[in-house]
Amino acid sequence: MKEPIIAIRDLTVRYGDLSVLNHLNLEVTRGEIMVLLGGSGSGKSTLIRHIIGLERPQAGTVLVQGVDVNRCSARDLTAVRRAMGVVFQEAALFNSLTVQDNVALPLRELTQLAEPVIEIMVYIKLALVGLGDAEQLLPQALSGGMKKRAAVARATAIDPQILIFDEPSAGLDPIVAAEMDELILFLRRMFNMTLLVVTHELASAFRIADRIAMLHGGSLIAVDEKDAFRASTDPRVRQFLDRVPDPVLDSEAFQRHLRQLGGFTGARA
């Protein structure tokens, strides 16, 4: 078995009384594309924020390349973060900088490369995502898909070993979303990166994933190869895959609440 590049052990996260992640265990092996599926509010983005080391959990550990991101020194955390690229849901490009400067930022800040070399590298990164001619544009002049691709170029600027995508297809039309899927597969093929993709788009998940993990109510309810996952008999997985809605209205609770609001206790005269 390959060694895990990301290992999450017994991760527990609470915001006040609200439990967001419950004793979560997950391993992502080097070079695989792991898709993290789950409905809204299932804890996917929270998990990502803990893997990146943006938040500290109440309990448990997150090991990235063997380093505990919540308990390591600042120097080790910097080294871990250099090995990771993150493409945020909103792209998170710097609005005051051109696309070129956005992609050049990590190269200027984290390396001693000369400016002409940085310019060449930026062009290569942008050309790889199909934005070679958008260097001088500001982010507000880009479409949703172009913003995501520019964010990919920035996230891959210093050649990370792990690339994390938070909802790469969110807000994109089906064609552009499919292009993003192909870009993800291309990145793995070209650079042999480990990719962790958070999504709730089933078509996208089954197109790109090697393995799929599913979060439900802060717990992992399934982690499997994509074909095995597709054949899962777990009722919660099936509900998600078959797109069966939860009942919107609990009629008994609704009537009870209405009676309380109206001052009726339930006893009829």
């Binding site: 924020r49 250099r82 993150v86 849901q89 998170a92 710097f94 930022l105 920035r154």
Partner: protein
């Protein structure tokens, strides 16, 4: 919630603010070297120059108008009292010393707090909301070095410059008052001002202005970094930045004035 509970919460909240500000001040101070030309990171010095334009050059018209008005008001108020004793000439001493030591730095700080403190908070708060700060952290780039340090260096340079300009405008307004009321010509007025002001008065004003710049930048940036939620939270942080920084500027002023008074008898 009981009164004791509420007081306790407020005390904890206040102490947390002080702790966060102290930590940020220390990391901000260490990060200033990254902004300096030649030894610093490329691009940071240019960012500081852009901030200098925003904080200093663009604020100059407002600082000029506010201080000229305040100078004239100050001269009229003191002149109306001193005239009764035939001591109108002392308006020069009051305006010159008042602006150099006190009003110049204070009014400049209030203008900069309203213009730039709120802008820092809104800019950083928006960066938090749009995940730009999170993106910086994930790229192993320290937001304090990248975002705060250029603003801090720019403010440390420009707020003292603005303070000198504001004192000049305030004192000039006093000169206009003296010309209109006592037919005192400007060369005579400036000579009287030069005889009144000591170097330590100027230095006292400049020390205060550096302290005010520190307060404004750190409070504005901290409010921005602490934004949680959406655009409404950015609005709250902007208001909070102006209110807190103005309050802290006045407290800092009190502290320095007391120190100067005790140590030098100013």
């Amino acid at each position: 919630m009981s009164l004791l509970d509420r007081v306790g919460r407020q005390a904890i909240h206040g102490l947390t603010d002080v702790g966060e500000l102290s930590l940020q001040f220390w990391t901000g101070l260490r990060a200033t070297s990254s902004v300096l030309p030649i030894v610093g990171k490329r691009g940071h010095w240019q960012a500081a120059i852009r901030q200098m334009l925003q904080i200093g050059v663009n604020a100059l018209p407002m600082v000029a108008v506010v201080n000229a008005c305040a100078g004239f008001i100050f001269a009229m108020q003191s002149g109306s009292e001193l005239r009764r004793f035939g001591a109108t000439r002392f308006v020069i001493d009051i305006v010159a010393i008042g602006f150099t030591r006190e009003l110049g730095p204070l009014l400049t700080a209030i203008v900069v707090s309203g213009r730039s403190g709120s802008a820092f908070s809104a800019e950083i708060g928006t960066m938090v909301v749009t995940s730009e700060i999170a993106a910086l952290k994930t790229m192993a780039i320290d937001p304090i070095k990248m975002v705060l340090a250029p603003k801090y260096v720019a403010a440390m340079i420009m707020v003292p410059c603005l303070t000198i300009m504001s004192s000049v405008f305030g004192i000039m307004a006093g000169g206009v008052f003296m010309y209109l009321n006592a037919n005192m010509t400007f060369p005579v007025y400036w000579q009287a001002v030069a005889d009144t002001i000591l170097l330590r008065d100027v230095l006292a004003g400049l020390v205060k202005s550096v302290a005010f710049a520190t307060v404004i930048v750190h409070v504005g940036c901290l409010e921005g970094f602490n934004v949680r939620g959406g655009p409404e939270a950015v609005g709250h942080s902007t208001t909070s930045a102006v209110v807190k920084s103005t309050f802290l500027v006045i407290l800092t002023d009190l502290f320095f004035t007391a120190v100067f008074y005790i140590t030098r008898g100013l």
